[in-house]
């Protein structure tokens, strides 16, 4: 079975990803695109209805992990070592949030990823992330 298919199966089986309604839109060698619908349960600021940063973090983390797993040089599994997020602006209430992650380098032990989250307005990202991940065989 090819790597993308294994990664796809793994990602779609994650309970928390399902709980947040995450959808894997695209997955090829080292690049993943995932999205998450607007949901009132995920609101972080009740005054404005803006989604909580933690939910955006969860999407970026999952998407980054998927990018690592699908990379040609990754043997299979992965776990986040660290992930940094910069929040540029509030996501517009009511809009879907889309994340795109790119695993740009893989060594024997560490994979490096950068990712971006946007809503309907592609011009200015909602958040950007960069992080490092472990490189592991499939459990």
């Amino acid at each position: 079975m090819d790597k993308t298919k294994i990664a796809r199966q793994f990602i779609t089986a994650i309970p928390h990803a399902r709980e947040l309604g995450m959808f894997l839109d695209h997955l090829t060698d080292g690049i993943a695109v995932m999205s998450m619908p607007y949901d009132e349960r995920f609101v972080g600021d009740p005054a404005t209805g803006v989604i909580h940063g933690g939910a955006v973090f969860a999407l970026l983390d999952t998407c980054s992990g998927a990018a690592v797993m699908s990379h040609a040089r990754s043997p299979g599994g992965t776990a986040t070592i660290d992930l940094r997020i910069d929040y540029m602006r509030a996501a517009t209430p009511g809009q879907r949030i889309r994340a795109r992650a790119e695993c740009y380098h893989v060594t024997r032990n560490v994979a490096f990823v950068r990712a971006t989250a946007t809503d309907d307005d592609d011009d200015l990202p909602v958040a950007t992330a960069s992080g490092s991940f472990t490189v592991e065989g499939l459990a």
């Binding site: 309970p15 969860a58 999952t62």
Partner: protein, 170 residues
């Protein structure tokens, strides 16, 4: 010794502070969604994340989702930072905690950046976190957070972040 005001009964003070904290925490839907609660001892807060199946990120291990851990740490940082500011205002009499209970939640600090280090995998059991506000200025604040499960000496994640403070026109 005649002019000193008699302190309020302990349960009155305690109840007012706990109600204010509960109103602050329960006002945010995402905190409710994850099920995070706060335990208060004086001005010190401990965040509690009770385990639930929906928090799983790796069903094979199983382990708590890294995104849940990050959100838990960020929630702890924001609430502790907001509480530290509110506490001073409540103690100084500048802010009436009854306003919180009435649903007038003050604006929360906004996260500018947040870095999470995953030290161990999050086990399928309850997690706890405490934040340390290292700097709290008029505009910016810097907070460090640690989360642990069974053993306080063995944190499973830590984070530090910068926050933009809300305008305090209360």
């Amino acid at each position: 010794m005649t002019s000193r005001k008699r302190p309020e009964p302990v349960q009155v003070v305690k109840q007012r502070r706990d109600a204010a904290l509960r109103a602050l925490v329960h006002g945010v839907p995402y905190i409710q969604f994850l099920g995070v609660e706060f335990d208060r001892r004086g001005d010190e807060l401990t965040a509690v994340l009770p385990f639930h199946e929906k928090l799983i990120g790796n069903p094979i291990l199983p382990a708590i989702h890294g995104g849940v851990t990050a959100a838990f740490l960020e929630i702890t940082a924001v609430i502790c930072l907001s509480w530290a500011t509110l506490w001073e205002e409540i103690e100084a009499g500048a802010f009436d905690p009854e306003r919180l209970v009435d649903g007038k939640i003050p604006r929360l600090p906004k996260t500018v950046s947040f870095t999470v280090d995953y030290l161990r995998s999050g086990l399928p059991r309850d997690a706890y976190a405490r934040a340390q506000v290292n700097r709290s200025g008029r505009r910016y604040a810097s907070v460090h957070v640690e989360a642990w499960q069974d053993n306080r000496e063995r944190p499973f994640a830590q984070a530090s972040g910068h926050f933009l403070m809300p305008n305090r026109d209360v």
